[in-house]
Symmetry: C2
Subunit: 307 residues, 2 copies
Amino acid sequence: MNFTVTTLGSSSAIPTATRNPTSLLVNMNYRYFLVDCGEGTQIQLRRFHFKIQKINHIFISHLHGDHFFGLIGLVSSFHLIGRKDALHLYGSPLLEEIITMQLKATETDLIYPLIFHTVDAEKPQLIYEDEERYVKSFPLKHSIPTTGFLFGEKERPRKMKKSFLATENVPVEEIPKIKAGADYINEAGVIFRNKDITISPPKPKKFAFCSDTAYHEPVIEEIHDVNLLYHEATFKSDLEQVAGEKLHSTAAQAATIAAKAKAGALVIGHFSARYRELDSLLQEAREIFPNTWLAEDGKIFYVRDLQ
Amino acid sequence: MNFTVTTLGSSSAIPTATRNPTSLLVNMNYRYFLVDCGEGTQIQLRRFHFKIQKINHIFISHLHGDHFFGLIGLVSSFHLIGRKDALHLYGSPLLEEIITMQLKATETDLIYPLIFHTVDAEKPQLIYEDEERYVKSFPLKHSIPTTGFLFGEKERPRKMKKSFLATENVPVEEIPKIKAGADYINEAGVIFRNKDITISPPKPKKFAFCSDTAYHEPVIEEIHDVNLLYHEATFKSDLEQVAGEKLHSTAAQAATIAAKAKAGALVIGHFSARYRELDSLLQEAREIFPNTWLAEDGKIFYVRDLQ
């Protein structure tokens, strides 16, 4: 499955000349999920040559402006370009009130269905599911109710070995059973064991998003074994106390969570505007978790199995 | 007086990869006025190396999202960076409701005074004034109440001729009277006529902003003789009917207004996202009003006397 994460904004509350506020685009086999939607997200999407119409699901972690002030603009643009498909928004119950009020104030009577889904910030929850994928939310530790999100592939059926199909004339109705794990018995009564006639599917992959949050070990259970972890790293360790007070994390703390969760790779983001260069944050994280990368605006990360 | 206009966004309702929604920064002798505040304006300001803290007055022409969705982000950033000075917002009475509601939803208790000034969209109005400058609003013709803005320098006192001050020992208290136009009589009873001992100050300059609006001749009276006119030109003339239906203007109509108002120069902007290249809009306008320029993002225009 093609599974990528594009970082659209890597700044914390205050944007800079080169870093937009938080937003990520998750592509799971050409189903597109937007995670957070800071101001300017729709412009970033266009800058990075993405057709905004492909987005049907938007997840908002919490109601600090740098994570959702771009949502009303995107919702309005969908209206102006004649969208017909439903748009699903997942987040705080207050989100509906904020968006609805602004649509009313701008006399916008949306021509497409806008469907709000309330996310419970108190406990882990399955919030989206289709035949191939699922999205779970889980609590983070921040100054207001905030959730992380886990994007996972579902277990896929086993694949038939071509060499077996070439030699045995298997009835079509038997194929799904074999793919689901059954053995096959041919007309002559010969038993073919499943493991000999099928190949294991790729291991399902997972991506987790954790922003904004203080260092919070309970998330480790929720994100264990993810192939890719995005974790906020607003500060360097010399400001660990400030990070604690503001309920944000340092680069070292993000790396510690990644290490304890046995993540495959770590992307850090949500950088304080005070940092002009980010190499020192990267180095700090890499000392604890070597496979760490910076969430620079426009950068694309593959979610893949490193084993 | 240093009098410039920086265009921060030149797109109409839908932004493009290279054109942000509407916003302009007016610098009148280092007092900074922001006109409209589409999504991403604060990021544009930073991109063009402007210190956002210098802005104390923001004018919003109307409540279509592409003209104000960036306001809440800017208001929030001011709060986060510890602003103390009052911020004055001028626009529809609904603006206060929209901003206040979002501040409440994001649990933001602003640490600086935010002062709303209601602009009457029905008739011309003086909405700002200080010792050197004034701002007037005037009605435009659009689908919702919309105002244009006129930024003007006040008449300045006459300047004393240095050659006269070098030969006559003029008492200090006489200087302001002479600068205001009085003649001077010295101790010997010699009369010096004002026009012989003073120099005329530079002619006051004016900049007018007209977006969004259909072709609307009543504005000509309000913007007559402006040195620089910004007028929207959403469409080319082949879409004049669409422009009329949507209460927008064509490039030719913008140029016609500029010509009839005897403007010094014209900047066109608010381009429909359908136009990838803008030269044809520019040529269309220049056929009617040769001194026309494109409002590309980041471009700075001097407001000056071309006579």
